[in-house]
């Protein structure tokens, strides 16, 4: 059974209908952490975060404290918050920006203070019209309240936050692509090196990019101390985390769960969370961390929800999205639809991703919709191999950014786990489920 003793760190205001307003925020302990942080030395705030061992919640799971320490010294530097959330079936940031925008804003101010940055941007997915409004309102309120702008709360620290709308492009979640979009360009990811925007980012200046959820954890960490955060979870995976549960479950939704202490099975079946599979069907496969992640079969359901635990089994917790596919699911169709997504969202700048995603999608389409050939199955694997050589995890890549090697994950998983389904599709001349 699931461990429910952990505090709610980022979803604590979920029972209030007006959770997004300044009055509710102030009534529930809002901006206390910021006032506290402002009495601390910036480096001490940073070291709390370092102690918390807060792993980035955007997908790559890089420790925030370490990222911050890489910020190159420069007269100007920037903090950019990644609220682009477009990884399919991931909807936890959406929840945070609509339901608790002040928590995000306070987190950003705390981070900016710790980093001694005086200009921050919150990049929000353009399709979050309401989220944009709520966060902008929260920013406006924060200025009114003295929590933003010159000399915050009378301290010697000033900060401006600009809320920047995206315009519909998944790739802009990739941090360098996001920076390009913030510079007003096409969202082409930048080639590495430099590997970290903390060295060269927005306008060529050092820039820290962190996820919305990562930022939203900061008020709690400042209030309760990094050690309290690190005491939750286990190993490298500390604290709690929001999981977006979707697919064939009875209660899809966003759930805050203590890391490692719970398993995939807990999340899917516990009545407090997913409440089981629809019509009690059996699970064929789950996608453990967004569609970029390789799939797991039901035999891995008892794996704890921890970053390293999942990595050891050849996948990732990624963006915190878990999709459940049951007996009624056509895995070929699912893999095809995911490839279609990548093909539509490839930025188009590098060859293997641009051409490979389209090719794989079209071949998958034929298998699913009729016209598939037996040789297509191995052709697909070889095309995947040409994007992510060796088809290992973590992947190698022939592409500029890691969208490329995300393309093979589902196709490779599906063929590996359900080759018979593919054979059946080819023999049947299309999807037998239709």
């Amino acid at each position: 059974m699931a461990t429910l003793s952990a505090p709610r760190i980022v979803s604590s205001r979920s029972e209030f209908a007006d959770s997004f307003t300044l009055s509710r925020y102030l009534a529930t302990g809002g901006y206390v952490a910021l006032r506290k942080a402002l009495t601390m030395f910036p480096e001490d705030v940073a070291s709390e975060v370092d102690q918390a061992s807060l792993l980035g919640r955007g997908g790559a799971g890089f420790p925030a404290g370490r990222k911050w320490s890489m910020l190159r010294k420069s007269p100007v530097s920037y903090l950019v918050v990644n609220g682009d959330e477009s990884e399919p079936a991931t909807f936890k940031d959406h929840y945070l920006v609509e339901r608790d925008p002040h928590q995000l804003v306070e987190g950003v101010i705390i981070a900016a203070y710790a980093l001694q940055v005086s200009q921050a941007f919150i990049f929000m997915r353009g399709e979050f019209a309401l989220g944009l409004e709520r966060v902008q309102q929260a920013v406006n309120d924060a200025y009114e309240h003295g929590a933003l702008g010159p000399k915050i709360f009378g301290s010697n620290f000033s900060l401006d936050i600009v809320v920047h709308p995206g315009a519909g492009a998944y790739i802009c979640g990739e941090e360098t692509s996001l920076i390009e979009a913030l510079e007003g360009k096409r969202g082409f990811p930048r080639i590495k090196p430099p590997f970290f925007p903390a060295v060269t980012g927005l306008y060529g200046e050092p820039t820290v990019v962190n996820n919305v959820e990562t930022m939203s954890n900061l008020p709690w960490i400042v209030n309760n101390g990094g050690a309290a955060f690190a005491a939750l979870g286990a190993g490298r995976s500390t604290g709690t985390r929001l999981f977006a549960l979707a697919g064939r479950v009875n209660r899809p939704g966003v759930y805050e769960v203590e890391m490692v202490k719970n398993t995939f099975r807990d999340l899917i079946y516990d009545p407090a969370f997913g409440g089981g599979v629809i019509d009690d069907k059996s699970i064929r496969a789950i996608i453990p961390g967004g569609v970029s992640a390789p799939w797991f079969g039901p035999e891995l359901l008892d794996l704890p929800l921890g970053q390293d635990e999942v990595a050891e089994k050849g996948s990732m917790l990624g963006s915190g999205s878990i999709v459940v596919m049951d007996e009624t699911t056509c895995v070929v169709r699912a893999a095809w639809r995911i490839t279609k997504f990548f093909s539509r969202e490839s930025c188009g700048q590098c060859t293997p991703c641009r051409e490979g995603s389209g090719w794989i999608e079209r071949a998958m389409y034929r298998i699913e919709h009729g016209g598939g050939r037996m040789e297509d199955i191995d052709l697909l694997l070889d095309l995947c191999d040409n994007i992510a050589p060796g088809l290992t995890w973590p992947p190698q890549q022939t592409t500029i950014c890691v969208l490329g090697p995300s393309i093979p994950s589902s196709v490779h998983s599906a063929i590996q786990m359900f080759r018979d389904d593919f054979v059946e599709h080819v023999e049947h001349g299309g999807c037998p489920h239709d």
């Binding site: 007269p75 399709e127 709308p165 315009a167 007003g184």
Partner: protein, 206 residues
């Protein structure tokens, strides 16, 4: 003489003031241009090019990278139906087909009355209420064919003008935040903070 209406132009100038470099205002400005014209007209593009110090080809090419920008006129309501993985598992494809027949237009085109444009979208990050439908980027949370038809009737009847404003996602909240602190003051502040910090970190002894 500008193509932007006075109020839009004024908001455009406010936006430009938010950013250290004018090109950075590209996406919000394009949202504004679309808010005014319903799509990105040549004139709107030219004005954005002028405001951001770029060329029309560059603005157009940039806009065409992003799904939310329309380079051709679209209906008053852009209806997006998600068919990505979570919605696929919840009947997104069927919902899209239904929408197409209700609206009387193929996916990617505009209904005969010119009111609706139907799009198949990628994941809209609201997967717990799947299949997800958005109208002008507002979540309408209709997951059944009947609810969808009701929604369309309501839109047609003008009952949802408040919940679903026409184009423009930046429309309701004034974007007044940003660049309030003076650059010079901040530079002095940062310098002071750094000196203070250096003073309290003991120099490493060789």
């Amino acid at each position: 003489m500008t193509h932007f209406r006075i109020d839009i132009r004024q908001r455009a100038e406010e936006l430009l003031a938010l950013y250290p470099r004018s090109r950075s205002a590209m996406l919000p400005l394009l949202h504004l241009a679309q808010e005014q014209d319903g799509y990105l007209s040549d004139e709107g593009i030219a004005e954005v090019a002028q405001l951001t110090g770029t060329t029309a080809a560059d603005v157009r090419g940039t806009a065409a990278f992003y799904d939310m920008f329309h380079l051709e006129p679209v209906g008053k309501y852009v209806v997006g139906v998600c068919t990505n993985i979570a919605c696929l598992l919840a009947g997104g494809e069927e919902m899209l087909e239904h929408a197409s027949s209700t609206l009387g237009c193929a996916v990617g085109s505009t209904s005969p009355d010119g009111l609706f444009t139907l799009e198949e979208t990628e994941c809209l990050a609201d997967c717990n209420i799947a299949p997800v439908v958005q109208v002008n980027h507002r979540y309408v949370r209709t997951t059944t064919p009947e609810a969808f038809d009701q929604l369309i009737d309501d839109l047609r009847a003008g009952k949802l003008e408040h919940d679903v404003p026409s184009h423009g996602t930046l429309i309701r909240v004034r974007r007044s935040g940003g660049l309030h602190a003076s650059r010079a003051e901040i530079a002095a502040e940062r310098l002071e903070a750094r000196e203070a910090r250096e003073a309290r970190t003991p120099k490493e002894t060789k």
